[in-house]
Symmetry: C2
Subunit: 562 residues, 2 copies
């Protein structure tokens, strides 16, 4: 189910994105005061799929799921940590990058999803630095090749041992005929700002670059002799820690395992229900509003921990989206619904706003930001249905604005005593959750005329009925009960009838109007070219480089430049 | 040769990008004072390839070559024209877009090149508006579907007849499972700034949108009843003409046919020589410096007309690049060389700078800007070899900065009395020729540290030897005579050995660091996704939508979302 061409290991039928530090197979997380060491020590046998081994600290999606989990836990469970030392547990190798045999045998869909998730994880490392002052120092003691160097690129500071052999490299193009796809090219040009011709040399030199040239070319921040490495690492860690605004002390909260019950056509979480209508190729995600008022204080929020409604919902939504992405390729559209009391949702938004300087409130908002970005980047049609009894207010309204289309029912339904659908905006809709293009979803929506954004701002706090929401441009269509069923049915049937690839490309363009950032460039320019290359025979054909790597046979290329 | 799967019409073996208004088959250009009417009236039989007919004003690359030619001629031959009325010569149809049978039968390489050239032509229409005050008003009297509406999107103002049936549409996704690829999606979101959910509705509605909704949704600027159309068009033309800064009167210059002699492995132009080394998969383009000093005055420049060295060189370079792109798919790298007196090249740059308010000087610089953008977007490795006797100064130095790598020889060659290689910068290198990302090539090169750009500016006017150029970061490597031959040979052999597709993707990323603009988004985000879709079976497979369109058989889709 997860991947037609490959079997998941240990008889599993789905890729699971939840991880538990006590069961990590590839990472060792050691927290010592305000410095955490995240040691990459990949278990060769601990593969996600059958058919390959993870030699030389190479990775597959399973390794990255643990890494993403570790970064999140450092944010929530260890708020006092200010610096992550990203290191290798293997001698003479930092990381050999994405496992080539895994890639060579993966379906196109898995390759694309693998790259997307690993990019999100790298962005998460950068977000921890920017948003939380949780800095990463990458210590390269050996070879950092391909995805290994791309992982280093996510760090704030890259240290390379100066031992005459350790080097950084992006050998994907010469060795495999593909691009360094986990943000590599974009981070080289836009983050490290390596001069473009030097980047060209670097990305076409299999053996990579080491020593002083690696510093001169901006590929690493410093090279350090082996004898001085530990002292230098400790010194850098102290320097970065001194710059951090994270709380000096602080008890974290435990990210307990999610409540999750799966049946054939549904997944029941605590605050979310996912229903699959497989003949119609739909997944309906219903978000449930809070059952109780917000806690009385920030301390009470910490006490609730992972049970605190906004955090629980965000974690469950994240898992649901990842599950659909990786395991439900046949889902054409995700339909967002909600149920609950909009006033309660807004009360939680107000609570978080009032406590926004508190470390946990900040982390929860940051987590929502990342989950919503994950939604934006999900290659399924996104539809919001705003119906009686729903609670699309504040943070939850972002799902309406993240959707490709939204429909809102006017008034009550015949024979239904639920209150008419409403929509409500809050401060949080105007900047707390930027998209990867740097704009809020509403600013992206109202690119044409800033006064539309002003009108929406002026309506913040109001309870908007369907006609008011439509007038303000907040929903695509307001429909009455007579038209509702037919319109929605016809639309969803039509959507499922279109080309899956065509829709992916269409949505990837229409969702991101306006400016681009390094992050959006990674998912557009770099990813789109990589997806193209992942289809080309020079890479993936029987005689292509990815298939022939390690066989002793040279690849045979179609030499035509397109 | 041009297209393995299709035969060119009339026994031709190459696609020719030169056109002659007296032989246009698809466009009628009528100039009346300051208003030109460009009437699209496609000759069904006048196809570029065999095997299809251009019904309903649909187009192929041949139609677009004439359009691009007409726009250039309006800039040079008719400097007094301020407004172009883009209209259809056919009843009830404006333009049906790219011909589907042509697309369905085209090779992947031709599809990609077709989209690239048509995008450049649309950008050229917009550039005429921004840079020259030559505005375009599109008058849609009938159906503007797909590429037909995309053509309209390039205009400054779109008028749609309000006759109850005329509509604009982007039906590519529902009908053909591909994207509107000629800038369509990007212009809808970033130029017209259509709200993203409305754009979603529009791009999935085969029949398109007409009347008031087309205005409300920002798809067109106005709808006009048939009875009032001609008056309204005349009124708008007067309004736009009043805003134009083009010279009120002015004799144009004639863009005479290029001097071009082709042999098996070479093309000899007047100011350029192209040599093909087919076993090595190289095209060497040698640019020749001017033979004489610049003319004494702007009037004398007008007198020289198309013989004026900077214009002649730009036109010939443009043709050479287009010829390689469309006809020489097996060329892996374009090697730029030059020969001549750098002081003379700089003298021409100074002449144009001194006369930059003159309409012709402005047009020539604008033309160079577009040609250099064309070079940036050429999917061949670009290499500059700066050797003794070369004249890479000012404008010509831009080709060094457009290259993926540049090599400069230190000192003289043994037994060669040519003067050592030099490089020289001029004002023109710091803003006259922005790339599609909005930055000069040097600003793009020095993203990391603005003081590098300042150092380069301070060196403007100096004659830089190889070591000085390398120190300033202007060339990739300065090599001495002992290493030169081997280094260059090994590099070019290696380049030709890499995957053609991998290089295309690599260069498309490394060349465009930093910001993105609408124009760069068209060539990155939109084009890259479209190229991916152009490989996907849902579009191009035997059961795909592009292949099955018009057969009466429905396409069969792989429903998996990737």
């Amino acid at each position: 189910m997860a991947d037609a061409e490959r079997k998941l290991n240990n008889g599993k039928s789905r890729i699971d994105f939840q991880a538990d530090p006590s069961k990590y197979r590839h990472w060792k997380l050691n927290v010592d005061g305000d410095v955490a060491t995240l040691l990459m020590d990949v278990d060769e046998k601990g593969t996600l799929f059958e058919g390959y081994e993870l030699k030389l600290n190479s990775y597959d999606l399973g390794v990255d799921i643990e890494l993403a989990d570790a970064i999140e836990r450092l944010r929530f469970e260890h708020p006092q940590v200010k610096v992550i030392l990203l290191r290798s547990g293997k001698p003479r190798v930092f990381c050999a990058g994405a496992n080539i045999r895994m890639l060579a045998g993966a379906s196109h869909a898995h390759k694309v999803n693998f790259c997307k998730f690993t990019n999100e994880t790298r962005n998460g490392i950068e977000d921890a630095s920017e948003a939380s002052g949780l800095f990463t120092i990458c210590v390269i003691n050996g070879t950092a090749a391909g995805g290994g160097y791309e992982l280093a690129l996510a760090a704030d500071h890259i240290m390379l041992i100066d031992d005459g052999s350790s080097a950084v490299s992006l050998p994907e193009l010469p060795l495999l005929a593909v691009l360094p796809g986990t943000g590599g090219l974009t981070r080289v040009t836009d983050k490290r700002k390596v001069r473009r011709d030097r980047a060209d040399v670097f990305c076409t030199t299999e053996e990579g670059i080491k020593g002083k040239r690696a510093v001169d070319w901006r590929l690493v921040d410093e090279v350090v002799p082996a004898s001085k490495l530990e002292d230098a690492v400790a010194k850098r860690a102290r320097e970065f820690a001194a710059k951090s605004q994270r709380p000096p002390t602080g008890k974290g909260i435990l990210l307990r395992p999610l409540t999750r019950e799966r049946s054939a056509d549904a997944v029941e979480y605590s605050t979310i229900a996912v229903e699959f209508d497989r003949p119609a190729r739909l997944a309906t995600v219903t978000l449930r509003g809070p059952q109780a008022a917000p806690p009385a204080s920030a301390e009470a929020m910490v006490e609730q921990g992972a049970e605190f409604w906004p955090l629980k919902l965000a974690r469950e939504l994240d898992d649901a989206i990842l599950d659909i992405r990786a395991n439900e390729f046949d889902v054409a559209a995700i339909v967002f619904k909600s149920s609950g009391d909009p006033a309660q949702v807004l009360a939680y938004d107000q609570f978080l706003e009032a406590n926004k300087e508190h470390w946990l409130a900040r982390e929860i908002r940051g987590f929502w930001k990342r989950v919503l970005k994950r939604v934006d980047l999900t290659s399924r049609s996104l539809v919001a249905l705003v119906e009686p009894g729903s609670c699309f207010a504040g943070t939850l309204a972002e799902l309406v604005f993240a959707s490709d289309r939204s429909y809102m029912l006017i008034g009550k339904r015949d024979g239904d005593n639920k209150p008419p659908a409403t929509l409500a905006l809050a401060t949080v809709n105007f900047g707390a959750y930027p998209m990867s293009n740097g704009l809020s979803r509403l600013a992206s929506r109202f690119l044409a005329d800033p006064t539309d954004l002003d009108r929406a701002k002026a309506a913040a706090g109001e309870t908007l009925d369907a006609e008011a929401a439509e007038r303000l441009g907040l929903v695509t269509f307001a429909l009455d009960d007579i038209d509702w069923e037919d319109e929605i049915r016809v639309f969803l049937e039509e959507r499922a009838s279109f080309s899956a690839d065509g829709l992916t490309g269409l949505e990837a363009n229409l969702r991101f109007g306006g400016p681009e950032t390094m992050e959006s460039k990674i998912f557009a320019r770099l990813t789109a070219w990589q997806n193209w290359i992942f289809q080309r025979p020079n890479a993936v054909g029987e005689e292509g480089a990815l298939k022939r790597y390690g066989t002793g046979q040279k690849p045979a290329f179609d030499t035509r430049r397109v």
